[in-house]
Every structure is written in structure tokens, then in C-alpha cells.
């Protein structure tokens, strides 16, 4: 019953990942509480865009400023 993954609206997150800048440290996969990222070929990839809740944990911890989120007032 609890396997139903909770999701809000589609395509609303302002999450942007710049793969050119990614240095493959994998810290974003560690801090994201929604498993939005996965490592593939030593680079972070967004594998679950609609699960992003724009909490900014990845942005804060990315050492190469490869990630951004810019929610409005919220």
C-alpha cells in the first residue's frame, strides 16, 4: 500500500543540472531526499525530475555550481 510513490505536479520544478560542470563527486545523490539524481558514467543525471521539491540541498553542496533551483516565494 505504501509503495505508491507520492508525487505532486509534473514539470514544475526549476531544477537545472549543467552536466558540463559536473565533476562526478556524487554528493547530490547523497543529500537529495527524493532520489532525483543517479550517477551514470561518473556524472550526475536527473532520473526523477518530478520528484524534486526544490529543497536546495544539492545546490548548497555541489562543489562546482553545476546545479541550480530558483523557486519563487513559496
Amino acid at each position: 500500500m505504501e509503495d505508491l510513490k507520492l508525487r505532486h505536479l509534473k514539470d514544475v520544478s526549476t531544477l537545472v543540472l549543467d552536466k558540463e560542470r559536473c565533476i562526478g563527486c556524487s554528493l547530490c545523490t547523497e543529500v537529495c531526499p527524493q532520489a532525483v539524481f543517479e550517477m551514470q558514467d561518473n556524472k550526475a543525471h536527473i532520473v526523477d525530475f518530478d520528484a524534486c521539491m526544490e529543497c536546495g540541498a544539492c545546490v548548497n553542496n555541489c562543489p562546482s555550481q553545476a546545479i541550480s533551483v530558483s523557486p519563487g516565494v513559496g
Binding site: 507520492l6 520544478s13 548548497n60 523557486p71 519563487g72
Partner: protein, 388 residues
């Protein structure tokens, strides 16, 4: 002066026996064991009941806390869950120990919301560790991280204030993963010399995390929102509606007086009560039923979820009261009213979930607030019209 002394001495004279049990009481007082914690007492301070003893370190005495919650903790937890004084439920920030902490023990960082603190120490059981409590103004880790009180700056400040480098021989601290919203591991390292290791989302996974040489698996890294986790939040959701609900109820009573003829109290009572019941139905549907059944109500939009559950619940309730409502117009009015309330409160619950983004919530509000207001206006019109 003399009188006082005299009367005082009269009472204490052995020959005067004020109460038959007095001698016994005196003797039982004499064998009362001394509270072992009394040695830690200081004038003007009160010892927290969760402090077990103190441990001597190079920086002085550090309180060692119990991992077991007592009755008072549980009673307070209950009240805080109901929304009573929840912003004043705090622990003094600073360094604590648990178990038998030493120079090699891990340092776990947490928030100073007592519910968070209790949750952490309960899960630690027999683990020996240091607990660095940040000043998050009595807010939990995730919310505080979002608000900026659980932050890089606060960690650095506490690490320095507690002379953590003199307490432990290593240079690492374990920060709860949900704190990452407010923390930059890099900056903490740069400014304090301590390396941040992100621990699991849930305190209950900490023992396993430590055993796994501080590695969290994917499941430990993901926030959940189980039916229990949703249910436990609903008392506060309901409590938040209390004040606006009372004001609305008063307005409903006044509206109930509008009708043909003179202002009649019987009329106010009947129509007032049934409309207040419609309000209560909407509140229960939006702030209790929708949150609990969240994933089982199909649409993604919370406002829509609230409309669906509100429709089901209010139809059931209105059919029962249809004799009082009188006519299809009144029925439609209360139905719309109840659904609007349910939809609004369900949408309000987006602020409590761990999976909604500010962008998503904004989009939903722009779309549904006008609809909810429209429904409210139409239902008021219909309700007043139905009285004539």
C-alpha cells in the same frame, strides 16, 4: 523577635506532639536517600530530567543524557503533537554526551526542538556519542534548514563555542541529511576544520549507518511519508483551523438569521447548526481525511484531492440532514461550501508534505484559489436565497 523564637521552640519541643505520625515522618525523612544528581545542582539552574550525569572532559563537565524517554517526555510529546506550545518546546543548544562518549566517539549534530532531540536519543540506545545541539529556535532539522537556522554558520559557531577540537581527536561531524538544505559541507570544513558526513534521513537508521562504516544506502537517503507519518501531523492541521473556524461559525449563525419575516431564533438554530456542520465536514475532509488518504485519492493536485474527498464526505452528511436544509438550492449551497473548505485545507497541507516544491504549490494556488473563492461566493448567495 522574642515571640517568634518562643513559638518556634514550642513547636519543636519533643513533648508537644502535633500529629501522631510526626515521629514516624521524621524518621522516614532521615533515611530518605540523597538524590545522586543533587551534586550537579547550581543555584538558579534547573537540571533537565533527561540528564543522567556529567562527564569530565578537557573543556569541563559535559552533560550525559539518557537514551530512554520517561513519562514526562511522552506526555509532552502528546501535547506538542496536538499543537500545544510547540514553538516553546526547546532544549538548550550546546554539547551533550550519550552512553560513554570518549575522544574517538562520533559527533551527531541535531536541532534544539525537544521532539527532535528526544527522537534522536531514543534511537541511539547504547551507542556512545557526542550530540551537538544547534540553536534552531525550537524547530526541527528539515524546516530549520529551510528557514536558515540549521545552517553552516550555526554549525561552525557551535563547533567553536564547544571547543569540539578539544573534545574529540578526529575531525568529522555527522549532520542529518535533511540538514543539507541549509548546510554546505565544503564551507563547514573550510571554516571549522571539521568534515561533514551526511547521516541518514531517519534517526532510527543511525545505528545501522554507524555499523556500515558511516555509509547510508538508498533507502536511508529517501524521505518517506507513510500513513502513520501523515496521520501524526493532522492534529496540528486541525488545530490551525480552530480560530478561523470559530469566526466562520459566528458568521454562519448571523447569516442563518437572514430570511423572510423577523429574525427568528429557531431559524438561526436550525439553519445555523446545519451550516456549521457543513463547515466541520469540510474541515475534517480537508485537514484529516485528505492528508491520511493522500496517495489513494487519484489527482496530483491537492486542491482536487480535497474536492473529491469533500464531495464524498459532504454528500453523505447532507443526505442525513436534508430535511432541515430544505430544497435543492440549500443543498447545493452547503455542498459547495463544504467542498471549497475541504479543497482549500487540502491545498494548505502541501506546506506539510516532504514532496511538494514551492513552484508546484504556487502553480496550484494560482489555479485553485480563485475557484475556491468563487465557490464560496456562489454558495453564500445560494444559501441566503434558499431561506426565502
Amino acid at each position: 523577635m522574642g515571640k517568634t523564637t518562643q513559638s518556634g521552640s514550642t513547636i519543636s519541643t519533643p513533648s508537644v506532639n502535633l500529629m501522631a505520625s510526626m515521629d514516624e515522618a521524621t524518621s522516614s525523612c532521615a533515611i530518605q536517600p540523597v538524590d545522586p544528581k543533587a551534586i550537579y545542582e547550581k543555584p538558579g539552574y534547573k537540571l533537565y530530567s533527561f540528564v543522567d550525569k556529567f562527564v569530565k572532559t578537557d573543556t569541563g563537565f559535559i552533560p550525559v543524557i539518557k537514551s530512554k524517554l520517561d513519562k514526562n517526555d511522552l506526555v509532552s510529546t502528546f501535547f506538542v503533537r496536538c499543537g500545544v506550545n510547540r514553538y516553546q518546546y526547546r532544549v538548550t543548544p550546546g554539547l551533550y554526551g550519550i552512553g560513554k562518549p570518549n575522544k574517538n566517539s562520533e559527533v551527531l549534530v541535531t536541532a534544539n526542538f525537544k521532539l527532535t532531540f528526544d527522537h534522536l536519543r531514543k534511537e541511539l540506545g547504547k551507542i556512545n556519542a557526542w550530540i551537538l545541539v544547534l540553536d534552531t529556535k525550537g524547530i526541527n532539522v528539515w524546516c530549520a534548514a529551510g528557514k536558515g537556522t540549521f545552517s553552516t554558520m550555526e554549525i561552525v559557531k557551535r563547533v567553536k563555542e564547544c571547543f569540539l577540537d578539544k573534545i574529540v581527536d578526529h575531525k568529522r561531524i555527522i549532520v542529518p541529511q535533511l540538514g543539507a538544505t541549509g548546510v554546505s559541507a565544503r564551507d563547514v570544513k573550510k571554516q571549522s576544520g571539521f568534515r561533514v558526513i551526511y547521516g541518514p534521513v531517519r534517526a532510527s537508521d543511525i545505528p545501522m549507518f554507524l555499523k556500515n562504516s558511516k555509509k547510508a544506502d538508498k533507502q536511508m537517503r529517501q524521505a518517506t511519508f507513510t500513513i502513520y507519518e501523515r496521520f501524526i501531523l493532522t492534529p496540528v492541521e486541525l488545530q490551525n483551523t480552530l480560530k478561523p473556524a470559530l469566526i466562520t461559525a459566528l458568521v454562519l449563525l448571523i447569516i442563518a438569521g437572514i430570511g423572510p419575516g423577523i429574525f427568528s431564533f429557531a431559524h438561526i438554530w436550525e439553519r445555523g447548526m446545519i451550516s456549521i456542520l457543513a463547515l466541520v465536514t469540510g474541515i475534517l475532509s480537508g485537514a484529516l481525511i485528505t492528508p491520511v488518504l493522500l496517495p489513494f485519492i487519484p489527482p496530483r493536485e491537492f486542491a482536487l484531492k480535497g474536492i473529491i474527498s469533500g464531495s464524498v464526505v459532504s454528500i453523505l452528511f447532507l443526505i442525513m440532514g436534508s430535511s432541515i436544509i430544505g430544497g435543492i438550492t440549500g443543498f447545493m449551497a452547503l455542498f459547495l461550501f463544504s467542498i471549497a473548505i475541504s479543497s482549500f485545507l487540502a491545498m494548505n497541507f502541501t506546506g506539510t508534505t516532504p514532496f511538494t516544491s514551492p513552484s508546484g504549490v504556487e502553480k496550484e494556488m494560482k489555479r485553485y484559489i480563485p475557484a475556491q473563492l468563487g465557490a464560496l461566493v456562489i454558495s453564500s448567495g445560494l444559501w441566503i436565497y434558499s431561506a426565502f
